[in-house]
Symmetry: C2
Subunit: 264 residues, 2 copies
């Protein structure tokens, strides 16, 4: 089984090319591949398969050639991943499966428009941000932003001073956001079911939407979002769409050992 | 740069073949390769280089063809690693650089004799165990065993009941050992400078030496040592040498991206 290992702001993935849609990938295989000691190690697996060849992708096959079959490290299925889709797009271009430029990629969260070259940031249209009513988190009012998954954003004076993150809401992704300058924030995120992570693409989008609302800043302005794993750039457009730009780095490529894969 | 990823009882390594002794491997490259999010991820790097071609190995070149240049994930140099040497030996055999059977491998801790086939446990002669005077750990008397590095072994009724490990001695590797049956122990280990790990080869050796001394059991008897990362087998021979046997698994092989390696 061929693989590529890559990361986007230190959210890391094993990419598995499956151009013929023949790869069997049971939950257990995903867990073994993602194990950071006994496997290759990653936050998740990105299977690269033609949309026409998978049940969840067939309806998008007319507009998008490739489907992102994203699995979490525990084997479960996820709709979308803002960091993963960048690594996926960079792989398509570096492997020659797609030309650089604007790609349309099918995901379980719909078709995503991605701008990708051989180098530099990859830009993903993450779709509409839906702002809800404020929600209470840790005794404060947090801004509720839905990016396909639910976020609650709290403005704080310093993300460094927070210490270990442990919000009292476990059903939401919680972003703590510190303004460090014009159109520049720092963010730490506590992902539901996971804990603190080094980066969260949808979380960065939610953080900028909440900051623009809070400060009354103009739309269409690119915000730098510093996360522990690097820097993302987020633009909340006037039409309501959120653009997420960030690095996508391919680290290594090779083959998983057949003997290791077969061992139960 | 070619690589192989493997592990021994979940102590994991990136193996870097360097048959011509030309690989430049500064500390910073080791740290980047071993980073579990932005790199390939491992506890350490094992450079496979002819003994005759490296300063630390040249004096062993007559008796050992290959030198194990072991680096910790932080880039520092280490003398030996009981789990790493098994993975190293398995790689030599699987890659065709050595024939299966008995190998002599040069390390910074001297020449090691290793028995390795294509499958099954790899057996390493870890050399002499030196037993010292008891040392106080957590208010108890621990057995001091030097295996090239210093260990203190405590017998406990249950390793599971211990909770988070935090011995009051930070200058020693501390093993907590539970007897579960004849010639069968469970072990948890707190490695100095690291914290609890999933396995420690020299620690398993020290644990069996201390248990044999404590119970008055006979020498030359293979002990099963269950660690969080799997099972090791340790034999304290009548001649004082300790044999460590355990799995060595090669998971994947490939190439590190040249563009990624060049990026500072």
């Amino acid at each position: 089984m061929r693989f590529v290992k890559g990361h986007g702001t230190e959210n890391d993935f094993v990419v598995l090319p499956d151009p013929d849609g023949r790869l069997e990938l049971p939950d257990d295989a995903v867990r073994r591949i993602c194990d950071r000691r006994s496997g290759l190690g990653a936050d998740g697996v990105l299977r690269v398969v033609p949309a026409a060849l998978v049940e969840d992708g067939a309806r998008y096959a007319e507009e998008a050639r490739w489907f992102m079959d994203y699995r979490n490290a525990d084997g479960s299925i996820a709709e979308m991943c803002g960091n993963g889709v960048r690594v996926y797009a960079r792989y398509l271009v570096e492997s020659g499966l797609s030309r650089p430029g604007r790609l349309r990629l099918a995901t379980r969260g719909g078709v995503k428009v991605v701008d990708v070259e051989h180098d530099g940031d990859v830009v993903v249209d993450m779709g509409l941000a839906v702002v809800g009513e404020d929600v209470p988190v840790d005794g404060e009012k947090a801004t509720a932003v839905d990016m396909g998954n639910p976020h609650a954003v709290l403005a704080v004076p310093s993300v460094e001073a927070l210490g270990v993150l442990g919000p009292d809401r476990k059903d939401l992704n919680v972003e703590y956001v510190e303004e460090v300058g014009p159109a520049h924030v720092r963010m730490r995120v506590h992902e539901r079911g996971v804990g603190e992570t080094r980066s969260c693409g949808t979380g960065a989008c939610a953080a900028v939407v909440a900051t623009v609302l809070r400060t009354g800043d103009e739309r269409d302005r690119p915000y730098a979002v510093d996360v522990p794993g690097g820097r993302l750039t987020v633009t909340w457009r006037s039409d309501g769409h959120v653009l997420l730009a960030g690095p996508a780095v391919l680290v290594a490529s090779g083959e998983l050992s057949a003997a290791w894969l077969e061992r139960p």
